[in-house]
């Protein structure tokens, strides 16, 4: 009696195995692609960062020496790398709030304030997201030249505009504004959707109780948006920590490294063939991204 498993349990077990296999069958293509194109490079670059791989090792990547944390130590003695970290922090600390607040303002406006041509505004604010950075950067560079449109407009009001992109103090704010303008659209779309989910009856009740628009916004809308706010902050923060295109196209990291981002620095190190050093730099950035994300989760997590 004991060596014959009850037929019902055996059939159930077979069904279970079959379901698992089918599930894996569906998941397999993605898993394989993910493992080969994402997991493997991540693992390989982690290994590279603790070796001394350079351009001479390109064809024999395994014939390298293990050097422990030397690359990381060298990074933190590298002035330009540290400067790039400061620049990146500057960009994120100013850029993320600017983008989120801007997107929220626009979304709220489009949601409630504008009734006619709403679609036009939605599309209009979203278009910068889908533009080519090269095209955008070229136009902005022309506009920001010392005798460009911006300075001409300022001239009308009697202000002599500076050379925006040649100034070590103004180049970064310009890049931040441009990045915020470009990325506001994505966040705006997310907020627009979330605003639909704000409980209507709460808002009406508050209006009846005599709460002002700002009070309603602050005490009802914002708390309701909290999870979406967290999401928006995380994706914007992660994206901004890796900002590269704007300095690459607009200022080439200048003037005098004022807009040198960590990703740009990593990219140029790769370009020089310092593969292990660049891998180490990118892992430092990875740790920064992790830290920022954890912080954001702590701060913006829903209280329930």
């Amino acid at each position: 009696m004991s060596d014959i498993a009850p037929p019902r349990r055996r059939a159930a077990r077979r069904r279970e195995i079959r379901t698992t296999l089918i599930a894996w069958g569906f998941a397999l293509p993605f898993t394989v692609l993910f493992a080969v194109f994402m997991a493997w490079p991540v693992a390989q670059s982690l290994v590279m960062s603790v070796t001394d791989m350079g351009i001479a090792d390109l064809r024999t990547p395994f014939a390298v020496d293990f050097v422990g944390l030397d690359n990381f130590v060298a990074l933190f003695h590298d002035e330009r790398f540290l400067h790039s970290l400061t620049n990146t922090a500057y960009f994120v600390v100013v850029g993320v709030p600017l983008t989120i607040v801007g997107a929220l303002a626009v979304a709220t406006g489009v949601n409630s304030g504008i009734t006619r041509l709403r679609t036009m505004f939605r599309v209009g604010f979203y278009i910068p997201v889908v533009t080519s950075i090269i095209a955008v950067a070229t136009i902005w560079r022309f506009m920001l030249q010392p005798d460009g449109i911006l300075n001409q407009l300022l001239g009308e009001v009697g202000i002599t505009g500076p050379a925006w992109l040649q100034s070590t103090s103004l180049a970064m704010p310009v890049i931040i504004v441009m990045a915020a303008w470009r990325n506001m659209g994505t966040v705006m779309v997310i907020f627009l959707a979330a605003l639909q989910g704000v409980p209507r009856d709460h808002l009406e009740a508050a209006m009846v109780d005599g709460a002002s628009t700002w009070q309603r916004f602050r005490h009802i809308t914002l708390p309701a948006l909290r999870p979406v706010m967290l999401f928006a902050c995380v994706i914007t923060g992660v994206s901004y920590l890796q900002f590269f295109e704007e300095p690459y196209v607009m200022t080439q990291g200048g003037p005098l490294d004022a807009t040198l981002s960590t990703t740009y620095y990593t990219f140029s190190q790769f370009g020089f063939g310092h593969y292990s050093y660049a891998s180490a730099a990118s892992y430092v950035l990875f740790v920064a991204i992790l830290a920022l994300t954890v912080l954001q989760f702590r701060l913006l997590r829903s209280e329930d």
Binding site: T51, D52, L58, R59, F66, Q166, G254, P255, F272
Partner: protein
């Protein structure tokens, strides 16, 4: 249980992988950048070549090369050449990736002196010197691709920089061709007096402003590295003088801090804002195109020497080289093609097709070049031109110099401090020797 097994297996695999790493005991303890020449490098038969040949060429050259190659395919009917045009942007990464992945073509064009940077990977086939003679080419261009006594590339076309200026403004101000540094500065200031906003467009920042500085260093008698390319020679009077001269243009407001890319300064030159700029042969066509029909107020002149004298001051020569990859399956045809492309007759034909200046000295005797007014100025500059030294770290060193020069231009450091800083950075980067 599953989690522990998974974690253990990951650790075991990682440990095995790391244990498998490590440089071979037989090589030296430092990563070696010298490359053993392939034993078959000298034996190349180019009489009857056949088979498929894959060629990469960059930018404009990539687009025009197929036209030139129809003749090659007629003379060598058994060879089938495929040209792939790749953009200038990121071509170095493309080549490195190709070498790393074993996907390199048979022949590729590279910017001079990039072959020297690529050579330490071991991915380039040394030039068979019994087939192609270095003496045929301009010395600087040829030498730029020599590492440890072995040549890794053949110069295909050269690109030297001269000074473009507005002839009408110069005439108005009654200016003669300058023959010294001081005279050049007076000349450009004179262009400003005659109405130009900028006497000369000099690159203020990054993106190889060092390549405009280097000729000045050579004119002052200095150089980037010593004879055997083991040390940098930047912390010298010649460099300090050259940097001071470069910076003086900004101090005197003959140039300003606005950075302009190719395509931005030509229109301003044509409308008279920019009195002069430094550039290569490609700008002849661009300026003529911007100026349209009837615009002939552009003149070219060679660099002056530091203190005055006959003949041009030393200029910079760059250009494009041809390399053959070590992994090639068709070495004979590859070198046969390179040889054909660098013969004088083909070089003249290529000039007529693309405007690229020949690297083979014999080609310059052809009337197509000798009789062209503007082109002959480039030829004059080639009488005294130097190329970048063939060191594996040249890109990184130039970037460091770019940055320090920018600091000097902005007055953040003095020329002497800039030279000292450049020397320090360059030394820490090393020559890769």
């Amino acid at each position: 249980m599953h989690r522990r097994t998974a974690a253990t297996s990951v650790i075991v695999v990682a440990a095995l992988a790391l244990a498998g790493c490590g440089r071979s005991e037989t090589t030296t303890t430092e990563p070696s950048t010298s490359v053993e020449p392939s034993s078959t490098a000298a034996v190349v038969e180019t009489d009857s070549i056949e088979g498929p040949l894959e060629v990469w060429a960059i930018g404009n050259e990539g687009e025009l090369l197929p036209d030139l190659l129809t003749e090659f395919e007629e003379t060598n009917p058994d060879v089938d050449v495929t040209v792939t045009a790749i953009p200038w942007e990121g071509y170095q990464d493309k080549l490195r990736t190709a070498v790393a992945g074993g996907q390199a073509p048979d022949v590729s064009m590279v910017g001079n002196p990039y072959a020297a940077v690529l050579a330490p990977t071991g991915g380039l086939d040394p030039v068979p010197t019994d087939l192609i003679a270095g003496d045929d080419f301009f010395e600087g261009s040829w030498d730029a691709s020599i590492i440890d006594g072995i040549s890794y590339a053949v110069p295909w076309y050269i690109d030297t920089r001269v000074i473009y200026y507005r002839t009408d403004l110069a005439e108005e101000a009654g200016l003669d061709q300058p023959t010294s540094w001081t005279e050049l500065q007076d000349f450009t200031a004179g262009l400003q007096d005659a109405g130009a906003e900028l006497g000369m467009y000099l690159q203020p920042s990054g993106n190889r402003n060092s390549l405009t500085l280097l000729p000045m260093v050579w004119q002052a008698g200095g150089d980037l590295v010593n004879e055997d390319k083991t040390e940098f020679t930047i912390d010298t009077d010649a460099w300090a003088d050259a940097i001071a001269y470069y910076v003086s243009y900004f101090d005197q407001e003959i140039s300003d801090l606005t950075y302009m890319q190719t395509g931005e300064y030509e229109p301003r030159f044509v409308n008279g804002d920019v009195g002069s700029f430094v550039s290569g042969p490609f700008d002849v066509a661009m300026v003529r195109e911007q100026g349209g029909e009837g615009f002939d107020d552009v003149g070219l002149m060679t660099w002056p020497q530091q203190d005055g004298g006959d003949g041009p001051g030393t200029g910079y020569v760059g250009g494009g080289d041809l390399v053959v990859f070590e992994d090639t399956d068709n070495r004979d045809a590859a070198w046969g093609l390179v040889q054909w492309l660098t013969e004088p007759e083909t070089q003249v034909e290529w000039f007529e097709l693309s405007g690229d200046l020949p690297s083979n000295q014999a080609a310059w005797d052809d009337p197509a070049l000798a009789d062209d007014e503007l082109v002959s100025v480039f030829g004059d500059q080639m009488d005294n031109a130097q190329a970048l030294p063939g060191i594996a770290t040249i890109s990184e060193v130039l970037t460091a110099i770019d940055l320090e020069l920018e600091k000097a231009v902005r007055g953040v450091v003095t020329p002497e401090e800039a030279a000292a800083a450049m020397q320090e950075e360059a030394t820490s980067i090393g020559t890769g020797a």
